[in-house]
Amino acid sequence: MIEARQLTKVFRDRKRGEIRAVDALSLCCPPGRIYGLLGANGAGKTTALRLLATLLRPTSGTAAVAGCEVTAAPERVRTQVGFLAASTALYGRLTAREMVAYFGRLHGLTEAELAVRLQGLADELEMHEFLDRRCDKRSTGIKQKTPIARTLIHDPAVMIFDEPTLGLDVMAARAIVQFVRRCRDRGKTVIYSTHVMSEAEKLCDTVGIIHNGRLVAEGTLDELRLRFSERDLEEIFVKAVGGETERHAA
C-alpha cells in the first residue's frame, strides 16, 4: 500500500529560483494493483517516485509506504521497497550473482536466506547461464534480468518503477513489462511512471496524470475516458494537461 498525502518537494536553484518539482501530491495505491504515473519529461514523476522510495526527503507532506512513514522511518521504508529506474545501473565489475547477493546483504539477509532467495530467483528468471558472468559483459540476459533480481532479492511488498523501459530495446522492454505484471499478480503494490501512453494503457489499473508537479487527473482508464470524452489516452493526456499550446509553453 502506498498513500501519499500532500507530498511536496521544493528545489532551490541559483538561476531559476524556487522550483516546486512535486506540489501537494496525494495518491493512494492499494496492493495488487498497478498505479501508472503519466507525465511529460520534467513533470515531476522521478522526484515523486524518489520521494516515495525515500531517496529524497519531502519539503512538506508525507507518505506511508507499506505502513512506514517516509519522513519518520526512511530506512524501514527502503526495506519494503524495490526500486527500479532507467538510472539505477549495475556494477559492471561484479558478476550477476555478486550484484544480487550484495543487495541481499545490504537488505540484511543472512547467508542462508540469501542462498535460498538467489536460487529461487535464478530459477524463476532463468539466470543460471550467466549468473557468474560480469555485468559489463555484452549479454542482454544479464542486462535485462539482473536489475530485476536485484530489486526482488529482499521480496519487497512495494515495487516502484521509474521509466524502467527508457532506452531499452523491444525485447528488454517486454521482459520488464511482463515482470511488472507478475509483481501485481503476486499482490505487490506497484507504482509505475512512464511517458509512453501505450505502456500505461497496457499495464495500469489506475492512471494519475502529473503536470508541473501537480496531479491533474486520476482514475481508471474507463473513468478517464468518460470524464474527458476521449477514447485515446494520448488525447486524454493532452486535455488533462491543458491542451497542446500550454504543453509547448511548459
Binding site: R50, A53, L55, L56, R57, E75, R76, R78, T79, V81, F83, A85, S87, T88, A89, L90, Y91, G92, R93, L94, E98, Y102, F103, R105, L106, H107, G108, R150
Partner: protein
C-alpha cells in the same frame, strides 16, 4: 552500532573486490609505487653515480694563461694527471661553454716574484654552481696550496728554521654522526616527500571512482535504494579509499627500502667504493616504522578529504578537475620539509603534511622528539576526524547526491 559496522563491512568488502578488479586502481595503487617509482629512483641514482664517477675520473680540461711566466709551474701542471691542458685564448667563453672546467692565470713575472719572495696573486677562473667546473677549480686550488706549502718550507729551510714554525698545530675533521643520521639527512628529506605523494595519489583514483564515478555510471542511485544508513555507505567507501592509500604507501615503503639496500650494494658496493664525498646512508628500521605509524592519520585525512571533494562532482572528469590542483597543495608543504634549516617545533607540528615531512626526516635519522610526535599524531587525527565528519555530512545532503 553492530548493524552499522556489519553494513560498513559489507560495503567495504564489495568496494574492495570491485576496485581490485579495476586495472586503473591497481596501476595507481600497486604498480606505480612498487615498480615505477623505485625504478626511476634507481635509474636516476645510477646515472648520477656514473656521471659523478666519470667526471671525477676524467682529467679536467684547463687552460694556463701566462705559462711562459713560470715554465716550471706550467710543466708541473702539464705533468699532473688530474689536468689536461688545453691551448686557448678565449678561456672565459670556453669555460662558459663548458669545454673548459677552469683556467689559471699566472701573473707576469710569477717565477721571478716567487724567487724574490714578493707577494703575488694567481687567479683561478671557474663557473660558479657548475659541478665539473667546481671539480676542476678544486683540483687547481689543491695544486697551488701544495705549491705554496712547498715554497714556504723551502724558504724556512733556507733560513735554517723548522717547517713546524708555520704549522704550530694540525686541524683534522672527524664525523661523529652515526651512519643512519647521515642517511636520515640525505634521503630522509626525499622519502617522506615520496611517501606523502603516493599516499595521496593512491587514494585519488578510488576516491573519485567510488563517488563521482558511481554517480556517472548510475550505480549510486542503486546503492541509495538499499536500507543501509548513509553513514555506513560513507564509512565503507572511506575504508576502501584508506586501504588503497595505505596499500600504495606500504608498497612504496617496502619497495623503496628494498631498492635502497639493493641500489646501495649495486652502485656503491662490490669494492668500487663510494665516489668521493658520498656516504653510504643507512636508514633506521625503527624510523621506518615510526613513519608508518605517523602516516596513518595523514592517510585518513587524505582519504576523507578526497572522498568529500570528489563527492561534490557529478562525473569523473569534474572530480579530476577538483582534485588535480590539490596535488600542488600537498606537494608544497612536503617539499618545504626538505629545505635545510626548517626544523620541527611546536608550531610547525600543527601544520599538516609539513609536520609529517619534518618528523620523518628526524625519525629516519634516529631522533625521537616524543612530545612533537604526539602533537603531530594528535593534531592530524583531529584534522582527519573533521574531514571524515565533513564527508559524512556531505553524503547526507541530497543536493550533493542528486546533482544534475
Amino acid at each position: 552500532m553492530h548493524l552499522l559496522w556489519r553494513n560498513t563491512l559489507t560495503i567495504f568488502a564489495k568496494e574492495l573486490r570491485d576496485s581490485l578488479r579495476d586495472r586503473r586502481t591497481l596501476i595507481s595503487m600497486i604498480v606505480v609505487p612498487t615498480l615505477v617509482i623505485p625504478l626511476i629512483m634507481i635509474a636516476a641514482g645510477a646515472v648520477m653515480t656514473k656521471v659523478m664517477r666519470k667526471a671525477q675520473a676524467e682529467a679536467s680540461p684547463i687552460a694556463i694563461i701566462g705559462g711562459a711566466e713560470a715554465p716550471a709551474v706550467a710543466a708541473e701542471l702539464r705533468a699532473d694527471a688530474r689536468f689536461q691542458i688545453v691551448e686557448t685564448t678565449d678561456y672565459r667563453k670556453e669555460i662558459a661553454d663548458k669545454r673548459l672546467r677552469a683556467a689559471v692565470e699566472l701573473p707576469p713575472g710569477f717565477a721571478a716574484a716567487l724567487a724574490r719572495g714578493e707577494p703575488t696573486t694567481v687567479i683561478l677562473y671557474h663557473y660558479e654552481t657548475e659541478l665539473r667546473s667546481g671539480m676542476g677549480v678544486g683540483a687547481l686550488e689543491e695544486f697551488f696550496r701544495k705549491l705554496r706549502e712547498r715554497t714556504v718550507e723551502q724558504r724556512l729551510t733556507a733560513q735554517g728554521l723548522p717547517a713546524a714554525l708555520v704549522k704550530p698545530f694540525a686541524v683534522k675533521r672527524e664525523n661523529v654522526a652515526p651512519p643512519e643520521r647521515v642517511g636520515g639527512n640525505v634521503v630522509g628529506g626525499m622519502i617522506p616527500y615520496i611517501i606523502i605523494l603516493l599516499c595521496f595519489t593512491g587514494a585519488m583514483y578510488p576516491a573519485m571512482d567510488l563517488t563521482a564515478g558511481e554517480k556517472e555510471r548510475g550505480t549510486m542511485e542503486t546503492l541509495l535504494c538499499s536500507p543501509v544508513p548513509r553513514t555506513a555507505i560513507v564509512l565503507g567507501k572511506f575504508l576502501t579509499v584508506l586501504a588503497a592509500s595505505l596499500a600504495s604507501m606500504l608498497c612504496s615503503l617496502l619497495s623503496m627500502s628494498v631498492s635502497f639496500v639493493l641500489g646501495a650494494h649495486l652502485l656503491l658496493g662490490a669494492g668500487a667504493g663510494a665516489p668521493h664525498g658520498m656516504v653510504v646512508p643507512v636508514i633506521s628500521l625503527a624510523g621506518a616504522a615510526g613513519v608508518f605509524v605517523l602516516i596513518v592519520p595523514v592517510a585518513v585525512l587524505f582519504s576523507a578529504l578526497l572522498l568529500a571533494i570528489s563527492l561534490l562532482a557529478k562525473s569523473m572528469k569534474e572530480a579530476q578537475s577538483y582534485v588535480s590542483p590539490l596535488v600542488v597543495v600537498i606537494i608544497l608543504p612536503a617539499m618545504m620539509g626538505m629545505l635545510p634549516g626548517v626544523e620541527l617545533n611546536a608550531k610547525l607540528a600543527l601544520v599538516p603534511v609539513l609536520n609529517l615531512s619534518l618528523a620523518c626526516k628526524e625519525m629516519l635519522s634516529g631522533v625521537w622528539h616524543w612530545s612533537y610526535l604526539a602533537l603531530i599524531f594528535g593534531s592530524t587525527t583531529v584534522y582527519a576526524g573533521a574531514a571524515l565528519a565533513g564527508a559524512v555530512a556531505l553524503f547526507r545532503r541530497e543536493a550533493v547526491l542528486f546533482r544534475s
